[in-house]
């Protein structure tokens, strides 16, 4: 079953189109990472799906139910991009209250367990007005998962958090994924999306420019695979022939004494190069393959 399905979903503010006819399908149990620069329309897209704002046109289904639909909200966990907390409530009361609002009351133990997951168990009874930015962010994540929803929207869940907290949150996301939850997250952190998400969508100017798994995106941008091979010295008689062969095999050859770097189109070419070096009886000491990072793909987009 599809957890999220949008058809021609658009949002305009006056004449400014922020989200432009997006068709998207997210399978149940997937972690979809939404990447884009500031103002790309990521948060607007999440806000439409979660009922914070209404679409200008198009339609969407969540967990197979046509939206907007209040009955499905019980199964949604949402961490909005920006929201302050109820300052007069303690962390634990916060979770209790919001679980009650969802119509899925929870026990005190469940609240403590979720606070433990985000590293806030020591602050369970502290009023949220006294929380730091990072603590507020963690509690915002905790409230999104407290009622054990099936579909979780996380809008930049780790921005502004310290490294240890980021690891905590990544572990939590993986744990939720293992439980079969569908997670839709946006991020500016390319490394995070690459590590955590099973599929990535790159959004620009209100459109999804490219979507797929990391491998699919790499395959699309495959011309940028860089291979560096450290080898035994090549005999001067073979040097010219070897150099010509390598120039035909790939691009941007950078050849030094006992090492060369070459950009190739596919991984198959790497095997061909290694075989060729073997033909010339050149010993290979080391092969480094540098695939395009998400950052490079993102910047190219």
């Amino acid at each position: 079953m599809l957890a999220i399905e949008t058809k021609q979903l658009s949002k305009s503010f006056w004449r400014n189109t922020v989200v432009d006819n997006i068709d998207l399908q997210v399978e149940t149990g997937e972690i979809l990472g939404f990447l884009g620069r500031n103002g790309a329309g990521k948060s607007t897209f999440i806000n439409m799906l979660t009922g914070i704002i209404q679409p200008s046109s198009g339609s969407y289904n969540l967990l197979g139910v046509k939206g907007p639909n209040d009955t499905i909200k019980k199964e949604l966990g949402v961490m909005p991009d920006y929201s302050s907390l109820y300052g007069s409530m303690s962390a634990i009361k916060h979770l209790h209250y919001l679980a009650d609002v969802s119509g899925k009351p929870v026990t005190r133990q469940r609240c403590i367990d979720v606070l433990k997951l985000v590293g806030l168990e020591a602050h369970a009874n502290k009023k949220t007005a006294k929380f730091s930015f990072g603590m507020k962010k963690k509690l915002a994540i905790a409230q999104a998962v407290i009622h054990d929803p099936q579909l979780i929207f996380l809008d930049e869940p780790t921005s502004g958090l310290d490294a240890e907290s980021v690891i905590h949150i990544h572990q939590l996301i993986r744990q939720l994924h293992q439980q079969g939850k569908t997670i839709f997250m946006t991020s500016h952190n390319l490394d995070e999306v690459e590590k955590v998400c099973s599929r990535i969508a790159i959004m620009k100017d209100g459109n999804i420019r490219k979507m797929g798994s990391m491998e699919e995106l790499r395959a699309y941008y495959q011309s940028t695979i860089t291979v560096t091979i450290k080898h035994a010295p090549i005999r001067s008689a073979d040097l010219d022939t070897m150099q010509k062969w390598l120039q035909q095999a790939g691009n941007q050859l950078d050849m030094k004494d006992s090492q060369f770097t070459l950009q190739v189109e596919s991984e198959k070419k790497i095997a061909e190069i290694i075989r060729a070096l073997g033909t010339y009886k050149i010993d290979i000491y080391r092969v480094d393959v540098e695939e395009p990072s998400l950052e490079e793909i993102f910047l190219e987009e």
Binding site: T50, G51, I52, I53, Q54, D70, K73, K74, L76, V78, P80, Y82, S83, S84, L85, Y86, S88, Y97, L98, D100, V101, S102, G103, Q143
Partner: protein, 230 residues
């Protein structure tokens, strides 16, 4: 809805403003009953109708002339504070917008119901009688004010603006409502039908119209809130 209603109800009791308002109601109820007993024992000039309502006159005056001020003063920012601070996003992503509006409204109305009930119970201890019609008239006024407060809080996005208006409207409302109820000026006298005082002139069940008007205001608040982007 119940969770929102419960929180709103409990929140209404918190803070110095609430304590002062509750104290005013309870003290008024106590002295209204106490002095009316004294007056009745000193004079026989009261008509039988006056004798019936004299114990509750203090609370009735308080509800009519200061009710709007008190209700708006305590709850003017019930919705717009949440929109302003974006805590509303936690609610709209979890439950229906109707549940939020009804929950808020019921929480506020329930607070005033409890305040008035306590006041009338205090009076009934002195009088050994509970005047249900006047109690329901006062309660329906509180319900009307609560609905108006929720509507204002949905219509106006800034809590500072509703705070200012709560004082202005709170003071002007009873004067204006009193005037349109009594005036023969045809241009404005029709307004008495959409304002509550007209329906509390006699001790009958006309107060039910006030509840109907409150329902209309809540419905308008809901229509506006459904279109509001949080």
């Amino acid at each position: 809805m119940l969770a929102i209603c419960k929180r709103e109800f409990i929140q209404s009791f918190k803070g110095i403003k609430s304590i002062i308002v509750i104290a005013i109601f309870l003290i008024t109820a106590y002295y209204s009953a106490d002095f009316s007993n004294l007056f009745l024992s000193l004079s026989n000039d009261f008509t039988s109708e006056e004798k019936e309502v004299i114990h509750t006159i203090g609370i009735s005056i308080l509800s009519m002339f200061f009710g709007m001020l008190f209700v708006m003063g305590l709850s003017h920012d019930t919705v717009n504070r949440e929109i302003h601070e974006r805590t509303i996003r936690f609610l709209v992503t979890r439950t229906s917008r109707a549940s939020i509006i009804f929950g808020k409204f019921l929480g506020i109305a329930l607070f005033w119901f409890v305040c008035l009930l306590t006041s009338f119970v205090i009076i009934s201890i002195f009088v050994r009688d509970f005047d249900f019609i006047i109690f329901f008239q006062s309660t329906s006024l509180a319900v009307y004010y609560s609905a108006f407060t929720v509507l204002m809080s949905v219509l106006l996005p800034k809590p500072s603006l509703t705070m200012f208006l709560s004082i202005v409207i709170g003071l002007a409302f009873p004067i204006f409502n009193g005037w349109v109820t009594l005036t023969s000026n045809g241009w404005v006298s029709w307004l008495k039908y959409v304002l509550p005082f007209y329906y509390t002139e006699d001790q009958n069940f006309e107060f039910l119209v006030i509840l109907l008007l409150a329902g209309v205001m809540i419905y308008i608040a809901l229509l506006v809130f459904r279109r509001r982007e949080c």
